[in-house]
Symmetry: C2
């Protein structure tokens, strides 16, 4: 297998830089490998070597394969949340929900490999033995709570039906998101943008006060 990344030509001066670069290169390699080969094909040896290092460095840095995936998820989760936060800004209620929908859709287009890697790990995480399932559960719970908060704001503003239970409706919305992305991963022919548009329309319809 050819090396898709290379060790830096000018090695960084400090240990911290050297270490950080190695970790980040290996995370990037892992994302590419997850997209190309799946979880099984993403071996620690392949991660290290395709990042330009030895077969053992990934283990040394992350302790275990699960440790690496945990770190990978932490990073992608943080990137997504930062992006979402920037785009939602001071919005709340319906508007925030719509922007969140669009942020997801745009990630599919702009960072498809990162999103796919994240979902591959999410869906792989429900193995009873999985060590990073708690990370996934916590992230999803926080996302749902954020959505529920937006719904509450929208109710106060009168733009969302007060008959709705925010926490439960957030769960339904989040389920739609996950289910759509799953079906897209299983069948890449699926028109994801159309599905996102339909989901958005349905959400608006369900939120509307009578």
């Amino acid at each position: 297998m050819s090396q898709s990344n290379q060790a830096p030509i000018d090695s960084p001066r400090t240990q911290a830089e050297r270490s950080a670069l190695a970790a980040s290169s290996m995370i990037d390699s892992a994302i590419e490998l997850l997209n190309a080969q799946g979880i099984e094909g993403t071996t620690l040896r392949a991660i290290g070597e395709s990042a330009g290092y030895s077969r053992g460095l990934a283990t040394h840095h992350f302790g275990s394969k699960a440790g690496l995936f945990r770190q990978l998820l932490r990073q992608v989760h943080a990137e997504f949340i930062d992006d979402l936060h920037d785009r939602v800004g001071e919005l709340s209620g319906k508007a925030a929900l719509m922007v969140a929908n669009e942020t997801y859709r745009d990630w599919v287009l702009s960072h498809p490999n990162r999103l796919r890697a994240m979902y591959i790990l999410w869906f792989g995480s429900l193995d009873p033995g999985s060590e990073f399932k708690p990370n996934v559960a916590r992230f999803m719970e926080r996302q749902r709570e954020t959505m529920a908060e937006w719904i509450r704001d929208g109710q106060k503003a009168g733009e969302i039906s007060s008959a709705i239970n925010p926490r439960r409706m957030a769960l339904q919305f989040y389920a739609s998101l996950i289910g759509i992305n799953h079906q897209w991963l299983v069948d890449p022919e699926l028109d994801l943008q159309e599905a996102y548009r339909d989901m958005k329309d349905n959400m608006l319809r369900l939120l509307q006060p009578d």
Copy 2:
């Protein structure tokens, strides 16, 4: 690891019976192991031995781990479809959609291990290297098409809004189902029955003619 199943005391007389019993015992063992240990922990050795046979029989029967999972899914899919068909009967339109929802919910209660094993494999199937992804994709596509047909019937009968695109709405409904089950698997504390009830209410609301 103790053996949860045992080889039959009275060995069946014919080769065909012997073989069928072995295959079925190993599939059952695999379902239990998937629930207890996940995909990784479900080794071919454990499957064979916990069914009362040798470490090599699962490989011999199913060719590979993927082959075994393929067969497992084929069986569980068939069981589910049979059950669904029995319960839906001659119903169509809204009524059929509601019965399908209830059938799913009841499976969660009556065959939790079978359902969980199925979902573990579904979610594990989107590995690029997965050999049983096509099975999953085809099953889901057929289920969606069945739902779309019910929606079309409901539109003809005037009980479902004619503004709806059946194929696309079926995708949305199916996504909800998958997403809810995923979140339940990640967090078993989640109130699945409540989520199913909410999903049903939302479906009715979305289908309703203006």
